[in-house]
Symmetry: C2
Subunit: 106 residues, 2 copies
DNA sequence: TGTATATATGAATTGTTGTTCATGTATTCA
DNA sequence: TGAATACATGAACAACAATTCATATATACA
């Protein structure tokens, strides 16, 4: 019995984690925050202003991303700067983006 | 004012579509189905049996993936075989998987 | 045509998730 | 120490999404 090239043996547990991981990208607010942070670190208030969102909305979503170690906070005085904390985020973002843009053309 | 290398100008609309796209991968049932179909097309009942899920659960999720053109059905008699219908699915799946496996190693 | 098989789907239910609003904590500075 | 600023957080609410159960449709075959 032959295996196809793309097939891999992945545990149920890993598949669960994988879906949990993709969930972080599956929300408009979070993907906008991620997109913004691709250009560099930014304070909470700056993010909120740039995205025209309430501060608490941004804080709540940042907490989710922070808990998942996708962003990392650095305090400077009263401000807290958030930066992407995962090498794969840009890659995944761009792979998904390529799909969307390709679809738009076709 | 200089732009960082990873920054791109992406419309709000595109970002919304992007998050919608990632949602498809953000569910355990769907990611398991996608994973299964990476090895080739499979009938609904075969998917349900392989994943130990009820037929209606699989059908409902396949409809979501079908509506998004991520899978494509082909009827053969009474059976309907579903196959992945997007070149980017495997790429996205594997990029996310790389992240999970990398994280597991510590 | 009647029965069995394979799949799809609608409605109800349940669980989950995002936002809002109010408030709490930390820091700065006068 | 008190006021202002920046951010975090808990609880309530609303919206959404997944599963379940019952049933409908389509095909095959006797």
């Amino acid at each position: 019995m032959k295996k196809e090239p793309n097939m891999q043996n992945i545990s149920l547990d890993t598949l669960f984690e994988l879906s949990e991981f993709f969930k972080f990208f599956g929300d408009t607010t979070r993907i906008r925050v991620i997109h913004l942070l691709l250009s560099g670190e930014m304070s909470v208030s700056a993010i909120a202003e740039k995205l025209n969102l309430e501060q608490s909305v941004v804080s709540h979503q940042l907490r989710i991303l922070r808990t998942a170690n996708l962003v990392k906070p650095t305090r400077d005085g009263r401000k807290i700067y958030y930066a992407l904390d995962d090498e794969h985020i840009g890659e995944i973002f761009n792979t998904g983006l390529a799909h969307i843009l390709h679809k738009k053309k076709g």
